[in-house]
């Protein structure tokens, strides 16, 4: 039986590459046209006041005993208060920036000026890495990130976000 099989010429296997290549090219074209590389995403850690701290501030009660798992209380020499434009055209853009320190408060007009002032503030601050930002409720998130970037560039590596003025903590709980 096996002898008989060996005598027969083996059938020639023809692999049709052309239709496969056509298909591959079509798929490739589809993916090239639909390829939309989004910008490279990065991330940063966030510092927020603990909910106990915020709740105590709202109800004007003494803060509850500290939770051992809770993040440490954020102490900063410098606080940036950012006001937002409220008119319909530029709603959510930066209107004014206040730099609040123990020595007093300064108003700056733009991010470049903020950077220059913060560089000086960073030299005299005792907490050189920590800064708080208190943006207005209606400030656009992209502007908040721009202010945070400026603070980091000026040397304050640990940027924490404070609740916006008039924020009602009870809506969260």
């Amino acid at each position: 039986m096996s002898k008989h099989k060996n005598e027969e010429p083996s059938p020639e296997v023809i692999l049709p590459i052309t239709p496969m290549l056509d298909m591959a090219f079509q798929l490739l074209t589809f993916f090239i046209f639909t390829y939309n590389p989004s910008g490279l995403e990065g991330q940063f850690d966030l510092s927020l006041p603990s909910e106990n701290e915020a709740a105590a501030k709202e109800t004007k009660q003494p803060p509850p005993p500290p939770d051992p798992d809770a993040p440490p209380k954020i102490e900063a020499d410098v606080t940036i208060v950012v006001e937002a434009v409220t008119d319909d055209i530029n709603r959510g853009e930066i209107a004014k920036i206040h730099i609040k320190q123990n020595s007093g408060s300064v108003i700056v007009g733009d991010l470049k000026e903020l950077f220059e002032k913060l560089k000086i503030a960073n030299e005299t601050a005792t907490e050189k890495e920590v800064i708080k930002i208190q943006p207005a409720s209606k400030l656009k998130w992209s502007n908040v990130i721009m202010v945070a970037d400026t603070c980091r560039k000026a040397g304050f590596k640990n940027v924490s976000f404070v609740e916006p003025p008039g924020f009602n903590i009870s809506v969260v709980n």
Binding site: I17, T18, M20, L21, A24, F25, L27, L28, F31, I32, T34, Y35, P37, S38, G39, L40, E41, G42, Q43, F44, D45, L46, L48, S50, E51, A54, D69, P71, G92, L111, K112, F115, P135, A136, S137, K138, L139, K140, W141, S142, V144, I145, M146, A148, D149, T150, R152, K153, F161, E163, P164, F167, I169, V171, V172, N173
Partner: protein
């Protein structure tokens, strides 16, 4: 090399390396597509940041929370039924919380969902502690109070680690 020119002048191009390259390119594009759909909701346009650092690829225990304002014109391309469903629930500018695999949520629904997630994670955790990181992807046009409210909700429900996403600026530009 047996496919080369023979004595009769039979010129056949060697398709194998071409096919190899094409399949490799195809594989690359298919993998990219999968990677993007796993994590990104295309409805979110992230703000740009110079200080955002590359993501830690070892970090797998994460919950993605996408936040944006509801803007009607962004959803007009959806079908009439879907649009009607959205407009019944959301008004222009309302906070719109997107969790992949879930219906868009309002604050109260999100709070309920978050509480359920936390309780499930706590039950399934070996030591009873939840180590999941919340990755917050906020649209650049979102109002700060909406972002802050979501962040506080995460903290109140018990999540300790929160990270914010932004598009990394490759070259530091002058302010």
């Amino acid at each position: 090399m047996s496919h080369g020119a023979s004595a009769e002048g039979n010129m056949e191009p060697n398709l194998t390396p071409l096919l190899d390259v094409v399949l490799q390119l195809l594989m690359f594009f298919m993998m990219c597509v999968n990677f993007v759909t796993n994590q990104v909701s295309e409805e979110i346009v992230l703000p740009e940041s110079m200080s955002a650092v590359p993501m830690d690829k070892n970090e797998v225990d994460v919950l993605f929370v996408n936040v944006r304002p509801f803007i009607l014109k962004d959803y007009e391309s959806k079908g009439a039924t879907a649009l009607q469903k959205l407009t019944d629930k959301f008004k222009e500018g309302d906070p719109f919380i997107i969790i992949l695999g879930e219906e868009p949520m309002r604050f109260n629904e999100f709070k309920f969902w978050l509480r359920n997630q936390f309780n499930t994670l706590k039950r399934t955790s070996k030591d009873g502690k939840v180590k999941t990181t919340i990755v917050m992807r906020a649209h650049k046009l979102t109002d700060y109070d909406q972002v802050y409210r979501v962040l506080q909700m995460c903290k109140v429900e018990g999540f300790r680690q929160i990270k914010l996403r932004a598009v990394t600026k490759s070259v530091a530009q002058p302010i």
